[in-house]
């Protein structure tokens, strides 16, 4: 049975394989998610624990590990943001989560984020000022637009990365990786804000 498995599934990921190599993919960011899904199901079937019910304990363990690796890899790669964050991590470019040295955030962005959070706070305090609600609606639109803008820039940087990988140009890779890291940092602020604004607006609607 084990020989059978390795014959059918010779591409079983070696220990410590990265998620791209699990699916035999190059470290590129443009990815056909339908093809990924199909590969995920195909490979999952090949290593599925049911097929190893009669096999040795070792083989069963292997089947479980492969299955969970496939799941982690699939879940990470199918989401473009998680995919990008993961890529930067395995490339050694830390986007956020860099431990003890916070990256620089543009001061204007901080000031803006802080201001909006203050406004949200006021709304949550529920003083019912209708103007505040209008302001928040405006803020929601604005921050959704800015999130979309960041996503647009991110898409461009991802393209550049893929081109650099194809061309094998290390410097261009480094530059686009750094840009993606900075954009992902910015995106976290925007995403938080959008979420908070929506929550604040949803809460007041609910009360009305």
């Amino acid at each position: 049975m084990p020989e059978f498995a390795s014959a059918v599934f010779p591409g079983a990921a070696p220990p410590g394989a990265d998620y791209f190599s699990v699916f035999n993919l190059p470290r590129k960011l443009a990815l056909d998610t339908r093809a990924l899904e199909q590969a995920f199901y195909r490979q999952s079937r090949a290593v599925h624990p049911d097929r190893f019910a009669q096999a040795s304990a070792e083989r069963q363990q292997w089947s479980l590990e492969q299955t969970s690796l496939l799941n982690d890899a699939y879940r990470t790669l199918r989401d473009p943001i998680a995919r990008t964050e993961y890529l930067l991590r395995i490339e050694g470019v830390t986007a956020g989560g860099r431990g003890e040295t916070p990256a620089q955030v543009p001061p204007e962005l901080l000031a803006e984020v802080f201001e909006l959070n203050m406004q949200l706070d006021e709304l949550r305090a529920g003083d019912g000022d209708p103007q505040l609600r209008t302001d928040l609606e405006a803020a929601r639109v604005e921050f959704e637009q800015r999130l979309a803008l960041v996503d647009g820039e991110l898409a461009r940087a991802q393209d550049e990365w893929d081109q650099a990988v194809e061309a094998g140009t290390g410097a261009a890779r480094g530059a686009s990786a750094a840009r993606m890291a900075a954009l992902l940092d910015k995106r976290r602020y925007m995403r938080n804000l959008v979420r908070e604004v929506r929550e604040a607006l949803g809460a007041t609607l609910g009360e009305a």
Binding site: P102, A103, V113, F114, R188, R191
Partner: protein, 142 residues
């Protein structure tokens, strides 16, 4: 994740939440952010111009419990200290006091950065910008 008692205490009963007059020359404002989570923290100090003692400190943090506790603790600690003494507060002191787990170290770094940024702002306002580079959050070494 389980927060330590001290974190819970500061979180549920934060000290010195509020705002000081940003435009006063005695007030220094530090606004910092942690891009890994998208949290923001503002810490303000009011310094006695004669003694250089920090007489008041206020904070406002939009972030996780550890960030709120760290900044609450930071305001308690800087009060009554001279500016020079306050500069010596490091995030490891905060980590120890609050028993923060490794994943929450960046929250304490944020508080340290906020103190330095507030002092830097105050120094700049008062024409002491020569040491300002050392007070910039980006220049701190963790």
């Amino acid at each position: 994740m389980a927060y330590s008692d001290k974190v819970v205490d500061h979180y549920s009963n934060p000290r010195n939440v509020g705002t000081l007059d940003k435009s006063s020359s005695e007030v220094g404002t530090g606004l910092v952010g942690a891009p890994e989570c998208g949290d923001v923290m503002r810490l303000q100090i009011k310094v006695n111009p004669q003694t250089q003692i920090i007489e008041e400190a206020k904070f406002k943090t939009f972030g996780c419990g550890s960030a709120i506790a760290s900044s609450s603790l930071a305001t308690e600690w800087v009060k009554g200290k001279t500016v020079a003494e306050a500069m010596a507060i490091s995030n490891t002191d905060i980590v120890k006091e609050l028993a923060l787990p490794p994943v929450k170290i960046h929250c304490s770094v944020l508080a340290e950065d906020a103190i330095r940024a507030a002092i830097g702002d105050w120094k700049q306002k008062n024409g002491m910008a020569e040491t300002e580079a050392a007070a910039q959050p980006v220049a701190t070494t963790a």
